[in-house]
Protein backbone atom coordinates (compact mmCIF):
# COMPACT_ATOMS: atom_id res chain seq x y z
CA UNK A 1 0.00 0.00 0.00
CA UNK A 2 1.28 3.36 -0.89
CA UNK A 3 -0.46 6.58 -1.57
CA UNK A 4 -0.43 10.30 -1.68
CA UNK A 5 -2.22 12.90 0.36
CA UNK A 6 -3.87 14.23 -2.75
CA UNK A 7 -5.60 10.95 -3.47
CA UNK A 8 -7.13 10.90 -0.01
CA UNK A 9 -5.19 7.76 0.84
CA UNK A 10 -2.80 7.40 3.68
CA UNK A 11 0.58 8.88 3.17
CA UNK A 12 2.86 6.19 4.46
CA UNK A 13 6.44 6.85 5.30
CA UNK A 14 8.93 4.12 4.41
CA UNK A 15 9.89 3.36 8.03
CA UNK A 16 6.28 2.66 8.85
CA UNK A 17 6.50 -0.41 6.67
CA UNK A 18 9.25 -1.97 8.77
CA UNK A 19 7.70 -5.06 10.34
CA UNK A 20 6.66 -5.03 13.99
CA UNK A 21 9.10 -6.59 16.41
CA UNK A 22 8.01 -10.08 17.42
CA UNK A 23 7.00 -9.14 20.96
CA UNK A 24 4.99 -6.15 19.72
CA UNK A 25 3.24 -8.26 17.15
CA UNK A 26 2.45 -10.92 19.71
CA UNK A 27 0.85 -8.39 22.00
CA UNK A 28 -1.06 -6.82 19.09
CA UNK A 29 -2.48 -10.20 18.18
CA UNK A 30 -3.52 -10.88 21.76
CA UNK A 31 -5.18 -7.47 22.04
CA UNK A 32 -6.85 -7.83 18.65
CA UNK A 33 -8.33 -11.17 19.68
CA UNK A 34 -9.83 -9.47 22.72
CA UNK A 35 -11.28 -6.67 20.59
CA UNK A 36 -12.71 -9.04 17.99
CA UNK A 37 -14.38 -11.10 20.74
CA UNK A 38 -16.55 -8.08 21.64
CA UNK A 39 -18.47 -8.26 18.36
CA UNK A 40 -20.70 -10.78 16.62
CA UNK A 41 -18.91 -10.06 13.34
CA UNK A 42 -15.23 -9.35 13.29
CA UNK A 43 -15.24 -6.48 10.80
CA UNK A 44 -16.87 -4.40 13.57
CA UNK A 45 -13.51 -4.53 15.31
CA UNK A 46 -11.91 -2.35 12.64
CA UNK A 47 -12.44 1.04 14.30
CA UNK A 48 -11.06 -0.06 17.69
CA UNK A 49 -8.19 -1.87 15.96
CA UNK A 50 -7.20 1.32 14.15
CA UNK A 51 -7.17 3.08 17.53
CA UNK A 52 -5.02 0.19 18.74
CA UNK A 53 -2.57 0.68 15.87
CA UNK A 54 -2.32 4.35 16.82
CA UNK A 55 -1.59 3.34 20.42
CA UNK A 56 1.52 1.57 19.17
CA UNK A 57 2.64 3.65 16.19
CA UNK A 58 1.24 7.11 16.99
CA UNK A 59 -0.63 7.16 13.69
CA UNK A 60 -2.10 4.75 11.17
CA UNK A 61 0.97 3.22 9.60
CA UNK A 62 1.25 0.99 6.58
CA UNK A 63 2.16 -1.95 8.76
CA UNK A 64 -0.84 -1.12 10.97
CA UNK A 65 -3.12 -1.21 7.96
CA UNK A 66 -1.62 -4.54 6.93
CA UNK A 67 -2.10 -5.89 10.44
CA UNK A 68 -5.79 -4.91 10.53
CA UNK A 69 -6.35 -6.34 7.06
CA UNK A 70 -4.66 -9.55 8.10
CA UNK A 71 -6.59 -10.16 11.31
CA UNK A 72 -9.96 -9.12 9.87
CA UNK A 73 -9.65 -10.79 6.45
CA UNK A 74 -10.01 -7.48 4.63
CA UNK A 75 -7.95 -5.96 1.85
CA UNK A 76 -5.53 -3.18 2.69
CA UNK A 77 -7.58 -0.91 0.42
CA UNK A 78 -10.69 -1.62 2.49
CA UNK A 79 -8.86 -0.80 5.70
CA UNK A 80 -7.29 2.41 4.45
CA UNK A 81 -10.61 3.43 2.90
CA UNK A 82 -12.09 3.35 6.39
CA UNK A 83 -9.06 4.91 8.08
CA UNK A 84 -9.16 7.95 5.80
CA UNK A 85 -12.84 8.57 6.52
CA UNK A 86 -12.47 9.37 10.23
CA UNK A 87 -10.70 12.46 11.51
CA UNK A 88 -9.25 10.82 14.62
CA UNK A 89 -7.10 8.52 12.50
CA UNK A 90 -3.89 10.29 11.61
CA UNK A 91 -2.14 9.96 8.29
CA UNK A 92 1.21 11.08 9.56
CA UNK A 93 2.96 10.93 12.93
CA UNK A 94 0.85 12.81 15.47
CA UNK A 95 2.20 14.94 18.24
CA UNK A 96 2.18 13.52 21.73
CA UNK A 97 -0.78 15.78 22.47
CA UNK A 98 -3.53 16.82 20.11
CA UNK A 99 -4.77 20.24 21.16
CA UNK A 100 -8.09 20.91 19.49
CA UNK A 101 -9.71 24.33 19.67
CA UNK A 102 -13.43 24.24 18.97
CA UNK A 103 -14.16 26.66 16.15
CA UNK A 104 -17.68 25.57 15.38
CA UNK A 105 -20.07 28.52 15.42
CA UNK A 106 -20.87 28.92 19.09
CA UNK A 107 -17.39 28.39 20.49
CA UNK A 108 -15.87 30.39 17.62
CA UNK A 109 -18.02 33.40 18.43
CA UNK A 110 -17.53 33.07 22.20
CA UNK A 111 -13.78 33.29 21.59
CA UNK A 112 -12.62 30.07 19.93
CA UNK A 113 -11.47 31.81 16.74
CA UNK A 114 -9.33 34.19 18.74
CA UNK A 115 -7.93 31.39 20.89
CA UNK A 116 -7.00 29.37 17.81
CA UNK A 117 -5.29 32.35 16.20
CA UNK A 118 -3.30 33.25 19.31
CA UNK A 119 -2.23 29.67 20.01
CA UNK A 120 -1.37 29.11 16.36
CA UNK A 121 0.78 32.23 16.39
CA UNK A 122 2.36 31.24 19.69
CA UNK A 123 3.30 27.77 18.45
CA UNK A 124 4.08 28.85 14.91
CA UNK A 125 1.94 26.10 13.41
CA UNK A 126 -1.47 25.94 11.73
CA UNK A 127 -4.32 23.46 11.66
CA UNK A 128 -3.23 19.80 11.65
CA UNK A 129 0.42 20.73 12.04
CA UNK A 130 2.83 19.54 14.69
CA UNK A 131 5.50 21.42 16.61
CA UNK A 132 9.12 20.55 15.79
CA UNK A 133 9.60 18.93 19.17
CA UNK A 134 6.78 16.51 18.34
CA UNK A 135 4.81 17.50 21.40
CA UNK A 136 1.74 19.34 20.08
CA UNK A 137 -0.51 18.81 17.09
CA UNK A 138 -2.85 21.78 16.77
CA UNK A 139 -6.32 21.34 15.33
CA UNK A 140 -9.53 23.18 14.80
CA UNK A 141 -12.18 20.78 16.06
CA UNK A 142 -15.91 20.66 15.57
CA UNK A 143 -18.51 20.84 18.31
CA UNK A 144 -17.49 18.53 21.14
CA UNK A 145 -20.73 18.59 23.13
CA UNK A 146 -19.68 21.03 25.84
CA UNK A 147 -21.25 24.25 24.54
CA UNK A 148 -22.26 25.37 28.03
CA UNK A 149 -18.52 25.63 28.75
CA UNK A 150 -17.64 27.65 25.62
CA UNK A 151 -15.04 28.37 24.49
CA UNK A 152 -13.84 24.78 24.74
CA UNK A 153 -10.43 23.26 24.03
CA UNK A 154 -9.74 19.52 23.94
CA UNK A 155 -6.32 18.09 24.80
CA UNK A 156 -6.13 14.45 23.73
CA UNK A 157 -9.92 14.45 23.96
CA UNK A 158 -10.12 15.66 27.55
CA UNK A 159 -12.17 18.78 28.33
CA UNK A 160 -10.65 22.17 29.01
CA UNK A 161 -13.62 24.40 29.72
CA UNK A 162 -14.12 28.17 29.58
CA UNK A 163 -10.83 28.85 27.88
CA UNK A 164 -9.10 32.14 27.09
CA UNK A 165 -6.12 32.68 24.79
CA UNK A 166 -3.91 32.95 27.89
CA UNK A 167 -5.19 29.74 29.49
CA UNK A 168 -4.73 27.72 26.32
CA UNK A 169 -1.26 29.12 25.73
CA UNK A 170 -0.48 28.11 29.32
CA UNK A 171 -1.84 24.64 28.55
CA UNK A 172 0.34 24.10 25.48
CA UNK A 173 3.40 25.50 27.25
CA UNK A 174 2.90 23.09 30.14
CA UNK A 175 2.43 20.16 27.80
CA UNK A 176 5.58 21.07 25.89
CA UNK A 177 7.50 21.42 29.15
CA UNK A 178 6.46 17.87 30.09
CA UNK A 179 4.37 18.96 33.08
CA UNK A 180 1.30 17.00 34.09
CA UNK A 181 -1.78 18.85 32.98
CA UNK A 182 -5.18 18.34 34.59
CA UNK A 183 -8.32 18.71 32.48
CA UNK A 184 -11.34 20.62 33.81
CA UNK A 185 -13.53 17.53 33.52
CA UNK A 186 -11.63 14.33 32.90
CA UNK A 187 -8.86 12.10 34.14
CA UNK A 188 -6.34 13.15 36.80
CA UNK A 189 -3.98 14.14 34.01
CA UNK A 190 -3.95 14.36 30.25
CA UNK A 191 -2.51 11.09 28.94
CA UNK A 192 -0.42 10.86 25.79
CA UNK A 193 -1.89 10.34 22.34
CA UNK A 194 -0.78 6.70 22.37
CA UNK A 195 -2.19 6.07 25.85
CA UNK A 196 -5.53 7.62 24.94
CA UNK A 197 -5.63 5.64 21.69
CA UNK A 198 -5.36 2.45 23.72
CA UNK A 199 -8.34 3.50 25.85
CA UNK A 200 -10.31 4.26 22.67
CA UNK A 201 -9.55 0.72 21.52
CA UNK A 202 -11.53 -0.34 24.59
CA UNK A 203 -8.76 -1.07 27.07
CA UNK A 204 -9.36 0.52 30.47
CA UNK A 205 -6.53 2.44 32.05
CA UNK A 206 -7.93 2.56 35.57
CA UNK A 207 -8.69 6.27 35.46
CA UNK A 208 -12.49 6.12 35.28
CA UNK A 209 -12.91 7.21 38.89
CA UNK A 210 -10.66 10.24 38.51
CA UNK A 211 -12.01 13.73 38.06
CA UNK A 212 -15.43 15.24 38.67
CA UNK A 213 -18.83 13.86 37.82
CA UNK A 214 -20.08 17.16 36.51
CA UNK A 215 -18.86 20.70 36.13
CA UNK A 216 -20.66 23.79 37.47
CA UNK A 217 -22.62 24.48 34.27
CA UNK A 218 -23.90 20.89 34.18
CA UNK A 219 -25.13 21.38 37.76
CA UNK A 220 -26.71 24.79 37.34
CA UNK A 221 -30.30 23.62 36.90
CA UNK A 222 -29.96 21.12 39.73
CA UNK A 223 -28.60 23.76 42.10
CA UNK A 224 -31.41 26.17 41.28
CA UNK A 225 -33.98 23.41 41.74
CA UNK A 226 -32.47 22.46 45.11
CA UNK A 227 -32.43 26.11 46.23
CA UNK A 228 -36.05 26.63 45.29
CA UNK A 229 -37.31 23.24 46.44
CA UNK A 230 -38.32 22.19 42.95
CA UNK A 231 -38.57 18.44 42.42
CA UNK A 232 -39.98 15.95 39.98
CA UNK A 233 -43.25 14.39 41.09
CA UNK A 234 -43.30 10.98 42.73
CA UNK A 235 -40.92 8.94 44.82
CA UNK A 236 -37.98 9.17 42.45
CA UNK A 237 -38.13 12.90 42.56
CA UNK A 238 -38.33 13.14 46.31
CA UNK A 239 -35.86 15.57 47.70
CA UNK A 240 -33.07 14.29 49.90
CA UNK A 241 -33.07 16.22 53.16
CA UNK A 242 -30.46 18.97 53.32
CA UNK A 243 -28.58 16.87 55.88
CA UNK A 244 -28.32 13.95 53.44
CA UNK A 245 -27.18 16.24 50.70
CA UNK A 246 -24.49 17.65 52.90
CA UNK A 247 -23.32 14.24 53.94
CA UNK A 248 -23.25 13.15 50.34
CA UNK A 249 -20.98 15.98 49.29
CA UNK A 250 -18.26 15.07 51.75
Amino acid sequence: MSGHDASGHLHVSPESKAPYADDVLERLHADAAEVIARYPQKRSALLPLLHLVQSVDGYVTGRGVSFCADVLDLTEAEVSGVATFYTQYKRHPNGEYTVGVCTNTLCAIMGGDLIFDRVSEHLGIGHDETTDDGRITLERVECNAACDYAPVVMANWEFFDNQTPESTIGLVDDLRAGKDVVPTRGAGKVCTFKEVSRVLAGFEDGRADEGVGAGPASLLGLRIANDRGWTAPGAQGSQPSPADAKEGSK
Partner: protein, 84 residues
Protein backbone atom coordinates in the same frame (compact mmCIF):
# COMPACT_ATOMS: atom_id res chain seq x y z
CA UNK B 1 -22.03 32.67 1.65
CA UNK B 2 -18.40 33.62 2.05
CA UNK B 3 -18.76 36.51 -0.41
CA UNK B 4 -21.62 37.91 1.65
CA UNK B 5 -19.64 37.48 4.89
CA UNK B 6 -16.79 39.45 3.34
CA UNK B 7 -18.97 42.28 2.11
CA UNK B 8 -18.67 41.28 -1.52
CA UNK B 9 -22.05 39.69 -2.08
CA UNK B 10 -24.57 40.56 -4.74
CA UNK B 11 -28.37 40.57 -4.75
CA UNK B 12 -28.01 37.49 -6.92
CA UNK B 13 -26.01 35.71 -4.24
CA UNK B 14 -28.79 36.06 -1.70
CA UNK B 15 -31.46 34.92 -4.12
CA UNK B 16 -29.29 32.03 -5.24
CA UNK B 17 -28.70 30.92 -1.65
CA UNK B 18 -32.39 30.78 -0.88
CA UNK B 19 -32.98 29.02 -4.18
CA UNK B 20 -30.37 26.35 -3.57
CA UNK B 21 -31.79 25.74 -0.11
CA UNK B 22 -35.28 25.29 -1.56
CA UNK B 23 -33.83 22.76 -3.94
CA UNK B 24 -32.05 20.67 -1.33
CA UNK B 25 -34.86 20.68 1.21
CA UNK B 26 -36.73 17.39 1.17
CA UNK B 27 -34.68 16.02 -1.69
CA UNK B 28 -31.53 15.04 0.04
CA UNK B 29 -30.64 11.45 0.80
CA UNK B 30 -30.11 12.02 4.49
CA UNK B 31 -31.22 14.55 7.07
CA UNK B 32 -27.89 16.29 6.82
CA UNK B 33 -28.96 17.95 3.57
CA UNK B 34 -32.01 19.53 5.15
CA UNK B 35 -30.00 20.35 8.25
CA UNK B 36 -27.61 22.46 6.26
CA UNK B 37 -30.34 24.62 4.78
CA UNK B 38 -32.27 25.44 7.96
CA UNK B 39 -30.00 28.11 9.39
CA UNK B 40 -29.65 29.84 6.02
CA UNK B 41 -33.31 30.14 5.09
CA UNK B 42 -34.39 31.15 8.57
CA UNK B 43 -31.60 33.71 8.92
CA UNK B 44 -32.48 35.31 5.58
CA UNK B 45 -36.11 35.35 6.68
CA UNK B 46 -35.44 37.24 9.91
CA UNK B 47 -32.34 39.23 9.01
CA UNK B 48 -32.46 39.80 5.26
CA UNK B 49 -31.12 43.34 5.69
CA UNK B 50 -27.97 41.92 7.24
CA UNK B 51 -27.39 39.72 4.21
CA UNK B 52 -28.01 42.76 2.01
CA UNK B 53 -25.43 44.70 3.98
CA UNK B 54 -23.08 41.91 2.95
CA UNK B 55 -23.15 43.40 -0.53
CA UNK B 56 -20.94 46.25 0.61
CA UNK B 57 -19.70 45.77 4.18
CA UNK B 58 -17.85 42.77 5.64
CA UNK B 59 -19.51 41.14 8.65
CA UNK B 60 -16.49 41.78 10.86
CA UNK B 61 -16.88 45.54 10.32
CA UNK B 62 -20.59 45.55 11.04
CA UNK B 63 -20.13 43.29 14.04
CA UNK B 64 -16.58 43.35 15.39
CA UNK B 65 -15.99 39.77 16.61
CA UNK B 66 -14.10 40.94 19.73
CA UNK B 67 -17.37 42.27 21.15
CA UNK B 68 -18.89 38.80 21.17
CA UNK B 69 -16.17 36.91 23.03
CA UNK B 70 -16.67 35.85 26.63
CA UNK B 71 -13.28 36.93 28.00
CA UNK B 72 -11.60 40.30 28.26
CA UNK B 73 -9.31 40.78 25.35
CA UNK B 74 -5.91 41.66 26.67
CA UNK B 75 -3.57 44.27 25.28
CA UNK B 76 -2.62 42.62 22.03
CA UNK B 77 -4.53 43.42 18.84
CA UNK B 78 -6.22 40.32 17.59
CA UNK B 79 -4.34 39.18 14.54
CA UNK B 80 -5.79 37.09 11.80
CA UNK B 81 -9.28 37.68 13.11
CA UNK B 82 -10.44 38.94 9.78
CA UNK B 83 -12.11 36.09 8.01
CA UNK B 84 -10.22 34.96 4.99
Amino acid sequence: MNRIENGQGTQDDIDKLVDICDNILGRSFCALGDAATSPITSAVQYFREEFEAGMHTPAHELFPPERSVLFDIQTKEPSGMVSA
